[in-house]
């Protein structure tokens, strides 16, 4: 279903049934038209925004940075995807990659600009990545705490697999590591979560 166009960038095959269902190809305006309509874009953002933003949160040090990274990555990848013939919306994988790259760029610029003290304050931000579940508050808190305490590489794989809906192979391609490594990081993270004390009695 995907046609590769350059590094980390894919165009959806226009013959894909679900693609035709999601995006009305015939009514999609041309890229160069002013105030073009991008059919399905708002729905695409509504559906994928939370999972993309979650990954942006994991990749950055603060909520504000995550917003910037998420915004830039979505805009850049959607623009690139609109250059495909026919114009389309980006594959999720390419947006995850863009988020990671933007976060790395941001981190580099932060490192050169921010002093150690400011970085510590930014890293100390612990605002929640997930919507608080009022009905099972304790389970929510336990899971949230364990996920936040996982090593970053396991955390990343877990988020991409569970909430990002990506396969091991897709994650491996994104991160430039083997699928076996991805699977092992995922299993380790999952085992950590499963062995959370008190989780079974909540």
């Amino acid at each position: 279903l995907l046609k590769k166009k350059g590094k980390n960038h894919f165009c959806l095959n226009k013959s894909s049934t679900w693609f035709r269902y999601l995006f009305k190809l015939d009514s999609m305006s041309h890229h160069h038209e002013q105030n073009r309509e991008i059919d399905g874009l708002d729905q695409w953002i509504e559906t994928n925004g939370p999972r993309l933003f979650l990954y942006a949160r994991q990749q950055t040090m603060s909520y504000a940075d995550a917003q910037d990274v998420y915004q830039e990555a979505v805009i850049a990848t959607v623009r690139k995807a609109l250059e495909c013939d026919p114009p389309t919306l980006p594959a999720l994988g390419s947006v995850f990659v863009a988020i990671k790259n933007k976060a790395i760029d941001l981190h580099r610029s932060h490192s050169s600009r921010m002093n150690r003290e400011t970085q510590t304050v930014a890293m100390a931000e612990t605002s929640s990545w997930f919507v608080e579940d009022i009905e099972s508050k304790e389970t929510y808190r336990l899971l949230n705490d364990v996920i936040r305490a996982l090593p970053e590489d396991q955390q990343e794989v877990l988020l991409l697999k569970v909430w990002g809906g990506q396969t091991f192979q897709a994650i491996a391609d994104m991160l430039g590591i083997s699928a076996n490594t991805v699977a092992s990081r995922y299993r380790y993270a999952l085992n950590q979560l499963k062995s959370t004390p008190n989780l079974s009695v909540v």
């Binding site: 708002d42 995550a66 915004q71 805009i75 919507v131 899971l143 949230n144 697999k161 979560l193």
Partner: protein, 175 residues
């Protein structure tokens, strides 16, 4: 979770159910949509700003003047009706004629004698990338435009305040 060990799939499903990712702010999504729907945000902002500076004042003064002429006309119709009612003491036909006469174009001349713009707020709208690859930072400026209008007949001055917003994309470079 329970006594029996849970499969990875079941546990993953439980995670999805228990933990729902927090969505990005609606303002962020709105900015994305606005940026993508516009051909070139910088170009459009620049041209809109130029046009606003060129014609905005003329247009706003014109609209305000028209609104005040309409308001004066209505006031005069009401006043004429009251005057004629008092003068004729119950002559409805006469009242009708005077009202129609008053509804004709009013000779009120409003002249703009002063205008100011006051910056009341600046908001950082975040990063935007233009299509030519330039990185920009968008700022939303909120102004209150004030126009003073003089009624040339009686010399009365009216002040009109109109809120206005402007989005400016500023190029930046990381050094």
């Amino acid at each position: 979770m329970n006594q029996e060990p849970q499969s990875d799939e079941a546990f993953e499903q439980m995670l999805k159910e228990k933990l729902e990712p927090r969505p990005p702010g609606w303002e962020t999504n709105r900015t994305i949509l606005e940026t993508l729907v516009l051909k070139d945000p910088e170009e459009i902002t620049r041209s809109s700003r130029k046009k606003l500076l060129q014609y905005g004042w003329i247009a706003s003064v014109g609209v305000i003047a028209a609104a005040f002429i309409a308001a004066f006309t209505i006031t005069q119709i009401d006043q004429s009706a009251l005057d004629s009612e008092a003068a004729t003491q119950g002559a409805p036909i006469q009242l009708g004629r005077q009202s129609v006469a008053a509804a004709e174009p009013s000779p009120v001349n409003l002249k703009a004698v002063g205008a100011t713009q006051r910056l009341v707020g600046v908001k950082d709208m975040g990063w935007k990338n233009t299509e030519d690859g330039n990185a920009t930072r968008a700022f939303k400026y909120e102004y209150i435009d004030t126009v003073d209008l003089v009624n040339e007949e009686d010399g009365s001055v009216m002040r009109v305040e109109v809120p206005r917003q402007e989005i400016v994309n500023v190029k930046y470079q990381l050094i």
